[in-house]
Amino acid sequence: MNRVFITGNEAVAYGALAAGCNFYAGYPITPSSEIMHLMARELPRRGGVFVQVEDEIAAINALIGASWAGSRAMTATSGPGFSLMQEGLGYAVMTETPLVVVDVMRAGPATGQATKPAQGDLMQARWGRHGDQVLPVLAPSSPQECYDLVIRAFTIAEELRTPVVVLSDEFIGHGREVVELAGEVRIPSRRRPRSAREPPFYSEDPRVPPPMPRLGDGFNVLVTGSTHDGFGYRDTRSFDTHYKLVKRIWDKIWLNRDTIFDYEAVGIDDAIIGFVAYGSTARSVAKSVEILRREGIRAGYIKLKTLWPIDTKPIEVLAERVEAIIVPELSLGQLVFDIERAAKNYTKIYSFNKVGGGEPIYPRELVELARKVLSR
């Protein structure tokens, strides 16, 4: 175990390298650029590929090509670049191309406040593509989790043959903490077809992705973003082919929700007030709960480390116990919709929203709100 004092962005890069990432294409954007700087330093001397491309659209599409050629590929960006990558992410979903995209969130929309943190890209990470699609979204709340969750993102990407999004934010990206680097990480290697008779785009069990042929291996693979049958032949007319394809890809993620979904629950067994949060906001929540408990108020929280697909059961359990749930977000409110969907029949839900200027959600603000809510 190697202990280092690094930022969240550096931890993302070290996590990717530990996971065997050997292809990075990226475009400069605040506040994610340090990830690219570290990859630019490390990949060429480790026999990998680093390329600074002309825009984020080129980045995501280069990742797609590299992934099909057998690479483990990642890019990192922030809001505006993430918007440009959406079409490519949709293509990666449709063609079941493993890759990892890290979005270090900043205040938007548009150029917004490039250097200031936010959590406004949650819904975009889930639903930014057109059509029926779902992809895993992970959210670290510390440099350590940046490291761990990027490794996890590569694991999920390879195991389920899917793009994975990691939603970090400026606080975490630029925040510096001690991170324990793993010695060696074993990521499952991609399953390859044994013969050209194995369909690369169909599997009997939707939970298991089909094997992925590598370019150059003689499979004459047909990859297309158009609706295709098991062997990649375009079929842009039939209901059956389309429904079967998009439903299988959808089920691949949803039916594996138990393994993808990850969270931490603290103090919820006896709590009378609960919080649900993710990312940097979860840190303020942890502190608030500590303060409230010191004051004799039994508070607890759930920190989500997976934002999609989401399993609402733990939130329902929390909701049945507490008098109210507070959902703080560095946005005008997005996660709160999930919490309302899961818990509004059991308890009261309060949104706490703040965004811009680099203002964090302070524990004292949440403590105050908790007191007020409980005294009502």
Binding site: A58, L63, A69, V223
Partner: protein, 278 residues
């Protein structure tokens, strides 16, 4: 047994006949490519990767060519090709696409790949319009042509991608029309088997039979005649010459043998390793 046509070993026979319009010149491009491969003694396309975007000519490799192929987003073929080539430089990467795909929505990737002298071959089938979406104006539509989006005749200045790319670091830039079959085939051989490195761009002027020719009341045979008549060899043009708007400048605009991006990156990687050990 019936003798197989030489091109059959390069094609997915079960997908034929193609879905192209009757008289479509995409077949000429397939033929020229097949002939070039045949003449070079290529037995199978293992190791070749075709990348194409969206449009009629993007269907040439996907599904008709029997090789690995990536049929990607509109305009992004060159970006995907870059990922493939960098991830595995042993693969021979060929992009086939149209003027809408490569010279409009994908023009930035094309120019930047040429700037990097990326080691890929790009064949741009210039049919002068957006064919698949019903004949709208494209960036190469000649002035005066009536299209579905310029019903009173196109008035915009078109782009000449060969002149643009000649000014980049691309190793090879050539243009032919479908009336120059042998020259086209030889250019493909030159790019793929002689030069072998750097960015190699071959444009084929192949007017859309449905949305250009039929609209103008022209038969395929008369298009061929017109293309030959209006072609002007690039080496005959001197600086300052005015070229009529009807003229198509054909020939080899540029042929060099500079190291491509792959070699440059490999040198760079060696330097990076040196820094580590030193």
């Amino acid at each position: 047994m019936k003798k197989r046509h030489f091109s059959q070993k390069y094609l997915r026979i079960e997908t034929l006949p193609t879905l192209f319009c009757p008289g479509c010149f995409n077949g000429v491009v397939i033929n020229a490519l097949s002939k070039a491969l045949e003449e070079e003694g290529v037995a199978s396309l293992r190791g070749y990767v075709f990348v194409s975007g969206i449009g009629c000519s993007s269907w040439i490799p996907s599904p008709y060519i029997l090789a690995d192929s990536l049929h990607v987003l509109h305009g992004r073929a060159v970006a995907v090709a870059m990922g493939v080539k960098l991830a595995n430089p042993k693969l021979e990467v060929i992009v086939i696409g149209g003027d809408g795909d490569l010279a409009s929505i994908g023009i930035s990737h094309l120019i930047h790949a040429a700037r990097r002298n990326l080691d890929i071959v790009v064949i741009m089938v210039n049919n002068l319009v957006y064919g698949m979406t019903r004949g709208q104006q494209s960036p190469t539509t000649p002035r005066g042509l009536e299209t579905t989006t310029t019903p009173y005749g196109s008035f915009e200045y078109p782009i000449d991608m060969c002149r643009v790319l000649r000014e980049t670091n691309a190793n090879y830039v050539a243009r032919w029309t479908i009336a120059h079959f042998f020259q086209l085939k030889d250019s493909i051989r030159e790019a793929l088997f002689r030069l072998r490195r750097g960015f190699r761009y071959i444009e084929v002027v192949a007017p859309c039979t449905t949305y250009v020719a039929r609209r103008l009341g022209l038969k395929p045979s008369s298009i061929l005649r017109d293309l030959l008549k209006n072609s002007k060899r690039v080496e005959e043009i001197r600086r300052g010459d005015t070229i009529g708007e009807d003229s198509i400048v054909v020939g080899i605009f540029k042929s060099e043998d500079k190291p491509g991006y792959i070699e440059l990156y490999q040198d760079y990687s060696m330097r990076a390793r040196g820094v580590q050990s030193g």
